[in-house]
């Protein structure tokens, strides 16, 4: 034991000798924590872009062919004095999905939290391959630049959907997009290389570098989820890369992998894309499940319910995710008998997902629940995942899918699952921000952010189920062109109004994030924050009441009532924040949430090398309210009984 301690101390002392300059510290860093932060900033930047694209789309759907405010500067033919033309609309949803999936959820959930948390949670100094890690981020950044550059080439960015179905994507003539689509392919190809490097690193680190005593079944579920995610990425990405290369060859070299006139098969693209694409869905959602498990256990002060069931259900999901891809292709022209087979496997994969939800419920039962900002977001994730999981059963049933395939029902479903991940993402940011930056985010602002996001997320995405049941197709530019959709147009307006409010509410998060990070506590700035946040809250309530009354009464009377409610709430929120908003960016203690996992025994933020002393693990990560100790938490590295006695010698 004392050997390990001495070795750890020697490492720490050694680390102090290294004086790294600005470039090595902040830019070309090999420190997993800095790389994690870099991924976080990349993801947040892209989140803003992806969100704004969605707002423009929603505007067009609610008020077709009217000018989107603030966009008159975009040149023709991309927009006409703020009016979105059809091809730009196609580019908007293509890039919205591409950015949100590949440049927001993956960089933040996998890139940022994978990097930041894996070494800390398993109790080691860094990743197995720090330089490869740095390369992974910078290759990812290049990929992001290429993707953004595609907005500026002639013809505009890719407009064939994030699924890039051939033959539409395989010939420039079909969309009128030439280099935009090529850059989309090249960017994703580069990103696949970046993710591949990251996943090799994660797997190697978790297999080889766990702290003494950290057996696989003592790992936090966050690490389990990232481990499984890395394996999925390692196996799925080469298939995507191959498909992308073939598509690029079809477009530029005259091959015909996907073009029937040269003997190719359009469905081959779909098989390859979804063979990657379905595991990819779990790449996105598994880390969210992992961090949610950690948050629920910590804030219930209770061991996670069914730890082994949780780990094994994730493993089951990972295995099954390889044999369900055909459920994206029920009506694609694939042999209908295969459709039946894929329906069976898809129904089966719902079981481990259900197990997870029930175990989360079991964790809540009998807990001592603290409704902090991260806990609220974790609960929000569970609630949204429940809806997204249940709505998946509809389309798993092949006959029902005949009708709802390619409608807004699907859009509702995958936003509840994939956009619902944003709740786990926010929970993770609020939860680990103190460890990442040594400062805490403001709890009051965080709770307001949660309430606004939760309400308007559901108001935005739930009515999409109604549109889908009505047969409203996805990816259409102007719903008013269809007689059977016209009676539902009020829902499109409703969704757009709530989506805009949802977007606006995120200012609450950005203000909290950056003000806490940089400790902006000037008096005028604090007042500004209070005014802005209370104004957004008031505006949101006014919208909520207005829309509710409009649906119930349908008259113009509600306006006054809504306005009064909004002003009242704004005043209350302002008063509350004015009195109670503490200093922004307070110095974080080591373990602000009194959590058990190893990252909390390191300093906040941890120095290069992470731990002063190599931690030794004695137990699982969720020993909350253990009868063995007086406190309601018991860190993984705290020796007790025989172990403590041994250590004393």
């Amino acid at each position: 034991m004392s050997d390990t301690v001495a070795a750890g101390a020697a490492h720490a002392a050694h680390a102090h000798h290294e004086e790294l300059g600005f470039w090595r510290t902040y830019v070309f860093s090999t420190d997993h924590k800095m790389i994690g932060r870099q991924f976080l900033f990349l993801g947040l930047f892209m989140l803003i872009i992806g969100g704004l694209l969605a707002m423009m789309m929603r505007w067009q759907l609610a008020w077709p062919e009217t000018a989107v405010p603030g966009t008159s500067w975009v040149p023709e033919p991309y927009m006409y004095e703020g009016i979105v033309p059809p091809n730009t609309y196609n580019a908007l949803f293509t890039m919205h999905a591409t950015i949100m999936i590949f440049f927001v959820v993956m960089p933040i959930m996998v890139g940022c939290f994978g990097n930041f948390l894996i070494p800390l949670m398993i109790g080691t100094r860094d990743m197995a391959f720090p330089k490869l890690n740095m390369l992974s981020f910078w290759v990812g950044a290049v990929s992001g630049v290429v993707m953004l550059a595609s907005f500026f080439v002639a013809g505009g960015p890719a407009a064939s959907g994030w699924t890039g179905y051939a033959t539409l994507s395989a010939k420039a003539a079909y969309t009128g997009v030439d280099w935009g689509q090529n850059l989309w392919i090249i960017s994703l190809f580069i990103l696949a290389i970046s993710s591949l490097m990251g996943s090799i690193n994660y797997i190697t680190t978790i297999v080889n570098m766990r702290a003494p005593g950290m057996s696989y079944f003592r790992m936090p579920l966050t690490v389990w989820s990232l481990f499984i995610t890395a394996i999925l990425l390692l196996l799925a990405l080469p298939v995507l890369s191959a498909a992308l290369a073939m598509l690029l060859f079809d477009r530029t070299l005259g091959t015909s992998f996907f073009l029937p006139e040269g003997g190719g098969q359009p469905l081959l693209w779909q098989h390859m894309f979804w063979f990657f694409g379905h595991p990819e869905v779990y790449v996105l959602v598994l880390p969210a499940m992992g961090v949610t498990s950690d948050h629920l256990s910590t804030f219930c002060r209770k061991p996670i319910f069914g730890y082994h069931a949780m780990a094994f259900s994730m493993i089951a999901i990972a295995f099954l995710s390889w044999i369900v891809w055909g459920h994206h292709m029920f009506i694609s022209g694939m042999n209908p008998l295969l459709g039946t087979a894929f329906m069976m496997t898809t129904m089966v994969i719902a079981v481990p997902s259900a197990i997870k939800v029930f175990n989360w419920l079991g964790t809540l039962w009998g807990g001592s629940i603290r409704l902090t900002a991260p806990m609220l977001f974790a609960l929000g994730f569970v609630s949204n995942f429940l809806i997204g999981g249940l709505s998946g059963i509809f389309m798993a049933s092949t006959p029902v899918d005949i009708f709802i395939h390619d409608t807004y029902f699907i859009v509702a479903h995958f936003h509840y699952v994939v956009a619902g991940i944003i709740f786990a993402l926010f929970a993770a940011v609020y939860y680990w921000f103190p460890k990442m930056f040594g400062r805490t985010m403001n709890e009051g602002l965080g709770k307001i952010h949660f309430v606004l996001t939760y309400i308007f997320f559901n108001l935005t995405f739930f009515p999409m189920h109604f549109l889908g049941v009505g047969g409203h197709m996805r990816r259409i530019y102007n719903p008013m062109q269809y007689e059977f959709i016209q009676p539902m147009q009020d829902w499109n307006v409703f969704i757009t109004v709530t989506a805009l409010t949802l977007g606006l509410s995120q200012i609450t998060f950005l203000v909290n994030f950056f003000a806490s990070l940089f400790r902006w506590n000037a008096k005028w700035f604090r007042l500004l924050v209070q005014i802005v946040v209370s104004a957004i809250s008031g505006y949101a309530l006014q919208m909520f009441v207005g829309l509710a009354l409009f649906l119930l009464v349908g008259a113009s009377l509600p306006f006054a009532a809504a306005l009064i409610a909004g002003v009242a709430l704004a005043a209350i929120v302002f008063w509350y924040l004015y009195r109670n908003m503490g200093e922004l960016g307070e110095t974080a203690p080591r373990n602000p949430w009194q959590a058990n996992t190893l990252e909390w025994i390191a300093a906040s933020p941890p120095p290069h090398g992470n731990f002063e002393v190599q931690p030794v693990v004695y137990r699982g990560p969720y020993e909350y309210s253990s009868p063995e100790v007086k406190e309601d938490w018991l860190p993984q590295n705290k020796p007790l009984g025989a172990a403590a006695a041994a250590r004393a010698h």
């Binding site: 033309p85 059809p86 609309y89 407009a159 179905y165 033959t167 969309t175 009128g176 029937p260 002060r301 061991p303 319910f305 069914g306 730890y307 082994h308 069931a309 009506i331 694609s332 022209g333 209908p336 008998l337 129904m347 719902a350 079981v351 259900a354 197990i355 029930f358 809540l364 039962w365 009998g366 001592s368 629940i369 603290r370 609960l379 609630s383 429940l386 059963i393 049933s397 092949t398 006959p399 029902v400 005949i402 395939h405 390619d406 109604f466 049941v469 009505g470 047969g471 990816r475 259409i476 530019y477 102007n478 062109q481 269809y482 059977f484 539902m488 909350y624 309210s625 009868p627 309601d632």
Partner: protein
């Protein structure tokens, strides 16, 4: 929620809709159950001074129950889906009414056999975006595409099938009520995707015969 479903006028529609309703009731019940439990737990087990959380790592009986029950429900659901799926997609009934619909950017090209009664011969009659068919008769359609993937969607007939370039896919329906039903393209097919639509005109037998006599008869040269 399901009141938004468009009116169904197909023979297999009721089977699809009944599955839709069944899944709706099952998922709605599950949603309410889980949500009520969640809200109840969050309120009942909120932090209170002097109370410690229950120290438990799980319960094997519960794990087995909540694995087997959803699995059983889902397996039953998929077996219930098999026959309807086979009816719609695998076993198209025989019929002497067979036409071709060829999708292309951004039109439905509707092709009727000419006087020789065969498709793909010189006397075929072509229309853009309008399908005329008799009520209560099995209509078989050879679905093709000449450029990109389109999707043949008849919301009122609960029918959707992608049209894939290089393939000829057989779809069928039997309409139960005369009327005019919208036929949008449901798969992104380019900048003109939105607005690519046609109409299915379902006629009574007499009206259809009249239409066919006027429109399908060989044109004088």
């Amino acid at each position: 929620m399901l009141r938004w479903l468009p009116e169904d006028v197909s023979t297999f529609g009721p089977d699809i809709d009944s599955l839709f309703y069944l899944i709706y009731y099952i998922t709605a019940a599950t949603f309410i159950l889980v949500t009520v439990l969640m809200v109840w737990f969050v309120i009942a087990y909120r932090q209170r001074e002097g109370r410690r959380a229950t120290y438990t790592h799980g319960n094997t009986t519960l794990e087995i129950i909540w694995t087997i029950v959803p699995a059983a429900i889902l397996i039953v659901l998929s077996f219930m889906s098999v026959s309807t799926w086979a009816k719609v997609k695998r076993h198209a009934p025989a019929s002497d009414f067979e036409i071709q619909v060829n999708a292309k950017q951004f039109n439905w090209e509707v092709i009727y056999p000419g006087p020789d009664g065969k498709l793909g011969t010189g006397d075929d009659v072509k229309f853009d975006n309008d399908i005329h068919a008799p009520v209560n008769k099995v209509v078989r359609i050879q679905l093709t595409a000449s450029d990109v993937i389109h999707s043949f969607f008849l919301p009122n007939l609960r029918l959707k099938q992608d049209a894939v370039p290089g393939r000829n896919i057989l779809v069928w329906f039997e309409a139960t009520k005369p009327g005019k039903y919208e036929l949008p393209c449901a798969e992104l097919c380019g900048f003109g995707h939105s607005g690519m639509k046609g109409w299915l005109h379902v006629h009574t037998a007499e009206e259809y015969a009249k239409w066919a006599a006027e429109s399908l008869a060989p044109k004088p040269q």
